[in-house]
Point group: C3
Chain length 208, copies 3
């Protein structure tokens, strides 16, 4: 039952990530193949980097449904293009839930591989946030998460809560639920209240 | 004898891929070292990604002639720059033969590592087409294969034929020859008849 | 004692590499997180590529002080921004010493893993120079080392000296010191005398 629930959440998260990549590829007028690859890289790129760092086979080589879900995402964007814009809030919600789940998956896998918690936090953040960095490299843009949004920061905050609860001997389920909740809350609040991190390079202009 | 023939084809393919990378680096006015690296990445980048995904040592670390062939490609471009432009068709033919061979090599290696056919098709396509993606990232351009040409699509078509013949219990040699032939035919026809994949993002303008 | 000395040099080199990345991120007006990642990638990116190619766990996953040093670098750039400009020569010296050390570390690790000397030279060069390439990809610029500076060339020169001394049965310490010295000398001389490699693509304009 829990496996089924997690699987559904992972599918929805993969779908949301892939749609976000495909829509950016559409803005750049890539062809269908290019859009598919950009969507795929957005959805599985972070986990792929994580698995290379963990010296293990990339997860999507063991299960083809990530490719299928990305194909469905491509079909949805092609067919329902105009309606998707009106669904921006829905996509945002799914994207945020997917982000939270990806971080938890990345952290758990790193811990299972025997790495300490600080490595797990980095791997969780990479799993959640670095598919988007690869996406931005492929479409030849400066990575969005380095400039505009509280995104990776939410992952790190969730990872620290995971650590804190582990430190207090909380159960794994509590760690995971709390981590995911914090990520969703921080990300939603940051968009609602327009939070952002300080920008580099302002000082000289403001203070001089 | 077959090994010798395959080796010659692989050398020619590596040379053609490296020349294509070095010529693009020349357009960007990179220095000799930069052009060499761009040529090398074009030639061996796809196979390197494949080998990292297969959790094995990149093939070019076991045999230095890929580096030597790239150095020869650099010398050829520097010395015969003006003549190479007239040889565009020859370079295209070699590039296409190299592409077909690289896909076959990538598929065979994945199968030898015990992966299923759908992974082999992806690895073949990565071997053939993703050196060019890395090249375009290095020269800071949007990847060409995402916009203009039937290139990766030819690899996938060849891979599907490989699969089909394997499914029909055809011998390995027949699979490989048919796969390579399809790739060459699809790519040549796509250039002759100016085939391309549908582009994303047209719909709103055409249909509204 | 030697370990302590090497460790101090490695910390200083990491700090110098991270500062160079963070300053470029500041020019692009990345936020603090983005600047931290760019600094980190500059400092550890080359060694990470090397470790992936050597099929081993990236070195920074086994020791968290690389992350700490990069955080210190971020703090230094934020606090002492104006003064750092005046320290350009100091940063250059540290950067060059770090480069030399990183190449030696990369070569030694490859040899310890049983690879031949020509692979070690490539891995040393990757360790020293490719963090900067990843940095330039992240900030969406053409890689600097492909256009402007004698940088990777200095690494290769040092690597060849390492090889030569190994060939003449010189001790490991002599190999390492000579390699590092050559890199520092070549790099300093190249900046002082404004050396550069020939640029591709001049010929047609000059000779026609």
């Amino acid at each position: 039952m829990e496996i089924t629930f997690l699987l559904i959440v992972e599918i929805i998260g993969t779908l949301a990530f892939a749609i976000s990549g495909i829509r950016l590829a559409a803005v750049k007028r890539f062809d269908w193949f290019g859009a598919y690859i950009v969507g795929l890289v957005t959805a599985i790129g972070g986990g792929t980097i994580r698995d290379l760092f963990l010296s293990t086979t990339p997860f999507w080589m063991l299960n083809y449904w990530y490719l299928v879900v990305t194909a469905i995402a491509l079909g949805l964007v092609i067919i329902f293009k105009r309606y998707l814009v009106r669904l921006d809030h829905t996509v945002f919600i799914f994207d945020t839930i997917g982000l939270a789940l990806f971080v938890v998956i990345g952290m758990q896998k790193s811990i299972d591989f025997g790495f300490p918690m600080w490595v797990a936090i980095i791997m969780g953040t990479i799993t959640g946030a670095f598919g988007g960095v690869l996406r931005d490299i492929l479409i030849n843009e400066e990575p969005l998460i380095f400039r505009k949004e509280v995104y990776a920061t939410a992952c790190i905050a969730g990872g620290l809560v995971y650590w804190l609860i582990a430190y207090c001997n909380g159960s794994t389920v509590v760690q995971q639920v709390a981590c995911a909740t914090i990520i969703i809350v921080v990300r939603v609040l940051s968009v609602v209240y327009n939070w952002s991190l300080p920008v580099m390079g302002n000082d000289s202009k403001k203070k001089n």
